[in-house]
């Protein structure tokens, strides 16, 4: 049984004051997320990522289709006791302290009274906020609120986590810590479904990703599969402070940084470039096939419709 089964979930809003017009936020979406995987839900701003998460959380009602989480319907309270949710740019009750807020969430999540305090302390430690539990949340920075948001999502030890832009508002160290935390949660056997438009995060964390754009699923698969296609190019790196003119004429890209030269050339020109380097007595460091990055794949999936919609890049 998949942890998350999305079966044709769709959402159309009716916008306007008088003559309401339909606006499709999500076209029928079919997606399965297996237990224990980190699944990245990628897309540009306004692609339908948050709408999908809201549908799964029961915050908005679908226009069609359905979904099951841990084999249960999306409005089943038993299922909701086993999931955690971090909304995008979370905001909490200003006048509560972090401890009070987390104790409240523990109460309504059904954490037994005897365990609440220890769970709250443990989770505050885990998100790197061990010393600010008694501070009111209105005094928290954006990054600290994001950490509190993650704390409330994992507080009751859910089996499935839904995180909407979890790295948003965090500095590089904070992002690294959250990535490490997500890895730990995966090691504990939890399933993580997270949305992001930061591809580097997805590439380093996810077992599989889906790409959504204009409310439509554009691609889904393991990161390695999506990025494994060799593009028929090689990257050649050598030691030396010069780039011979013959290499420049063969390469697609060529540049020198201090004492290292780098050229990207068609695979067919690989031997000729290496010969030139030998002739010039430059020391060859590496020859690597160029593979498509997740960014390349993402741009390929997203760009055609942007062009069709008149978006220029």
């Amino acid at each position: 049984m998949a942890a998350i089964e999305i079966l044709g979930l769709e959402k159309t809003y009716h916008v306007g004051f008088w003559r309401k017009k339909p606006k499709c936020a999500l076209r029928p979406l079919h997606l399965n997320v297996e237990k224990g995987e980190i699944f990245g839900f990628l897309g540009p701003n306004g692609a339908g990522k948050t709408t999908t998460l809201k549908l799964l959380m029961g915050l908005v009602f679908p226009s069609g289709g359905t979904a099951r989480i841990l084999g249960m319907a999306i409005n089943d309270p038993r299922m909701k006791a086993q999931i955690g949710f971090l909304p995008e740019q979370p905001y909490f009750y200003d006048y509560l302290t972090a401890v009070e807020l987390l104790e409240y969430y523990a109460q309504i999540s059904g954490v037994p009274a005897k365990q609440r305090r220890s769970k709250v302390d443990e989770v505050l430690n885990r998100v790197g906020l061990p010393d600010v539990g008694r501070l009111q949340l209105r005094k928290f920075s954006k990054g600290m609120l994001q950490r509190v948001g993650i704390a409330q999502a994992i507080l009751h030890e859910p089996a499935v986590l839904f995180l909407d832009e979890p790295m948003s508002g965090l500095d590089p160290i904070g992002r690294r810590e959250v990535r490490d935390l997500m890895e730990q949660l995966k090691q504990e056997g939890r399933t993580i479904f997270f949305s992001t438009h930061i591809l580097a995060d997805a590439e380093s964390l996810c077992d599989r990703v889906a790409i959504i754009h204009l409310g439509e699923l554009r691609g889904v698969g393991a990161v390695a599969d999506l990025t494994s296609s060799v593009e028929g190019k090689v990257e050649i790196v050598w030691q030396g402070s010069i780039a011979p003119a013959a290499i420049k004429s063969l390469a697609i890209e060529c540049h020198v940084t201090r004492d290292t030269g780098r050229a990207v050339a068609p695979e067919a020109s690989q031997d000729r470039v290496i010969d030139i380097l030998r002739r010039e007595q430059l020391h060859l460091i590496s020859v690597t096939p160029v593979r498509a990055s997740l960014e390349d794949y993402f741009v390929r999936q997203v760009k055609p419709s942007q062009t069709a919609a008149g978006v220029t890049t």
Binding site: V60, K80, F85, Y95, G110
Partner: protein
């Protein structure tokens, strides 16, 4: 009733108390102290009457303002700031959220009224140098004021479940004003004929009848309040609150939280 309703109510109470209500209590304490001192100096023989009238009217107005302004924000503020998302993604039903919010604010208003009532009694003690048995009726007037707060809170919650904060405040305040003249509206309805009569009768029975809750003047004159009125007002308030909260739940159960 589910334990989650209690948790949501206690969180609402805590948030409301820390947010705004304390400022209101300070303002009220200053007003009552100032009024008592002033009344003591300028009134001859009617100090008690003035203090009870002024005090209970102030309790009512302060409470109504709090009920409306916190009541309309109970749902809309939670949606706007997305605090609701982390609550409803847990095993919390939407009706539990609405009822918990209502109970929390009702509790806030009850505690608030308790402290304001202490202010009224202290001012009364200051101007009349003692309390009489008939002053006990002030407690009944305060009870009626709390019942009015419950109705206003339920209406504010109902409006905020489908409207913007501004319109919700406007609707709730208009209903409070119209409801305060409900007896006059019913009198007009009885006199009107045809369609106007039907409309006026419908409107008169739809708006909350706050006229019957206003016994401030009679208790200021130390007149007793009939037991039948206490019973009928209690039943009326409970039924009205029940209907308004049910309406709020029905609307909220179907609402997309965009």
């Amino acid at each position: 009733m589910s334990a989650r309703v209690g948790h949501i109510a206690s969180n609402t109470f805590r948030e409301a108390v820390r947010d705004r209500v304390l400022y209101n209590l300070i303002a009220f304490a200053l007003l009552m102290s100032g009024a008592a001192i002033l009344v003591g100096q300028i009134s001859i023989g009617i100090e008690r009457l003035v203090v009870v009238n002024l005090g209970l009217t102030a309790v009512s107005l302060f409470g109504v303002v709090i009920a409306i302004f916190i009541g309309i924000g109970l749902v809309s503020k939670e949606i706007e700031k997305r605090t609701l998302y982390t609550v409803l993604s847990r095993p919390v039903q939407r009706w539990e959220f609405i009822v918990g919010k209502f109970v929390g604010l009702a509790g806030t208003l009850a505690v608030n009224t308790f402290f304001m009532a202490i202010g009224v009694f202290v001012a009364l003690l200051y101007v009349s140098h003692g309390l009489q048995a008939a002053d006990g009726w002030i407690l009944v007037a305060l009870y009626f004021i709390v019942l009015q707060f419950l109705i206003i809170t339920a209406l504010a919650l109902l409006f905020s479940s489908f409207s913007t904060p501004l319109f919700s405040a406007l609707f709730a305040f208009c209903l409070f004003v119209i409801g305060s003249f409900a007896d006059d509206l019913r009198g007009f309805a009885a006199m009107a004929q045809g369609a106007a009569g039907w409309l006026a009768t419908g409107a008169a029975y739809l708006v909350p009848n706050f006229s019957s809750f206003n016994v401030i003047s009679s208790v200021a004159h130390q007149q007793p309040v009939a037991a039948q009125l206490i019973l009928s007002n209690t039943v009326y308030a409970l039924v009205y609150v029940g209907m308004a909260i049910s309406g709020a739940v029905l609307v909220f159960e179907r609402r997309n939280l965009k």
